[in-house]
Symmetry: C2
């Protein structure tokens, strides 16, 4: 199986109450593919400038990420600068420099067009559609988006939604797209736009997965030290889709596990700046945290109420 991701690779400068990272490696496709690489082979489509370090591309290759679609062009790599307040809940964007990303049009290498699964990270819906026009017969297509596109290109976004199997978005964005304050109603509304599966990211509260009649609530792990939430959403999507594609099926049982795997990977991501905490994982570490998640939410059936 193969999992194609199209998104951004960037330098992030981030300040949190716990420290500062200057021009650290980031971008949706970077977080996604690192996370997914623990479960499935990933094909990466993105663009970087001539200032992007070769050793980071080597890192991706070492993780079995196919970088044929990672185009290097003249100019500077996409840069984002942001800051988090005391509660780490929302990033304030201080600066965005699109640089080489400004002219980005995803061109898929020939063998990427047969990808089994596709993740369209949060980019312009028009670019997401360009990707969909290039892939042949993927079994699973998922997408993310953000407020900016909901406001500026609602019709193009609806077209994207009508062509994907799964939407993975933040709770506030789900409410906005669906114009429903109630999260269940919002998910049902989005399902009506096309995607069979809707996964709603709730930050430190975990995630909700809706699929046909299934509603599954995955917790976030209550960590004593959260350093930097940047990239947690894409890391979540990477874990979820990587695991799902690796399983080769989308039964409710797989969706439940995959949503938890997403939360597991995100729980590593936030423990350090940039990709740092995710560079050194292995199956054993991931599995042990997965088991912690299981203990976190497990409880016995009621018995004494029968008396």
């Amino acid at each position: 199986m193969s999992l194609l991701v199209v998104g951004s690779v960037a330098f992030d400068s981030v300040e949190t109450p716990f420290g500062k990272a200057d021009e650290a490696i980031g971008g949706s496709a970077m977080f996604f593919s690192t996370s997914a690489s623990y479960f499935e082979e990933v094909q990466l489509v993105a663009v970087v400038g001539d200032d992007f370090p070769e050793k980071e591309i080597d890192f991706l290759k070492s993780r079995n990420v196919d970088c044929e679609g990672l185009h290097r062009v003249e100019g500077k790599t996409f840069r984002w600068e942001g800051k988090y307040g005391f509660d780490l809940n929302e990033a304030i964007t201080l600066d965005t420099q699109l640089n080489v990303f400004g002219d980005f049009h995803p061109r898929l290498p020939q063998d990427y067009c047969d990808a089994d699964a596709v993740f369209l990270a949060n980019i312009d819906p028009d670019l997401q559609l360009e990707v969909l026009d290039q892939v042949r017969d993927p079994k699973l297509v998922a997408c993310d988006t953000m407020n900016f596109w909901i406001d500026s290109k609602p019709e193009r976004l609806e077209l994207v939604f009508s062509r994907v199997d799964m939407v993975i978005i933040n709770e506030s964005e789900a409410r906005k797209i669906a114009d429903k304050a109630n999260v269940v109603q919002a998910a049902r509304e989005i399902q009506k736009m096309g995607p069979r599966h809707v996964v709603i990211k709730r930050g430190e509260y975990g995630a909700l997965c809706f699929s046909d009649d299934l509603i599954f609530f995955a917790p976030a792990y209550p960590l004593e030290s959260v350093f930097d939430p940047t990239g947690a959403g894409d890391t979540f999507a990477g874990g979820l889709l990587g695991y799902l594609v690796g399983q080769g099926s989308i039964r409710p049982r797989d969706l439940r596990q995959a949503t938890v795997v997403g939360c597991v990977m995100a729980s590593f991501c936030v423990e350090d700046f940039s990709l740092e905490a995710m560079r050194k994982l292995d199956y054993d570490i991931i599995k042990r945290r997965f088991e912690k998640f299981q203990r976190l939410v497990s409880f016995e059936p009621l018995e004494l109420l029968d008396q």
Copy 2:
């Protein structure tokens, strides 16, 4: 076993995007005792005016709530008026009339002083201390509080915390008391003030229970229609403590189940205005929803990662 609650009984006038309730029955002790009554005998200490309907006291008695401590005095019952916005997350208080509650000092009937467990609902910490001075040897004492007391009587509140076994509070209040943005750190900080068990209410995101080394994450049920969140927190506490006292033990296993029972009861509470949805429950209905909670969060262990 017996479970004593001291708190308010009130008339609530509530407006939500889904409707309006005028002078409906409310108050922390009212929600708590109705909820707890499904699991344990409750002794209620509160005050009402001469305008409080006798049939509501009959309702409590029919639910096995001992109303000897519910004092009726001359004057008007406590009134609260509030409004919820689109997302139902926070109530805006429009009006508060303490009325007879303004001169309230809890006087416990003789046999209440031997209560096995006590819940000090969100009232003046000085009144909470007056209750603690009257009870003899309760096995479990829990309390709630709110921002108003954290700001105005921090030292009295710390004294209360040093004398209770369990604190059940909202997430934002836990962060404020502990001066920690991180919820795990906040809970650990509160534990240092005295209570062995800290339960943090997160509204539509469920609840977290901390006890010694235990961390348990209970989900809230994602309901398609939430009518009125008023009283959900006290209903949660009622279910949690009612179940726990009914079990007669506070093992981690009981705490996990009790926290879920709290969420189950709160999920009924929000489905209608006032106490309406909670008047007509029975063990079967409660148990079926408990089972729905179990399906909501259950997932299989990872296997394929071993390959």
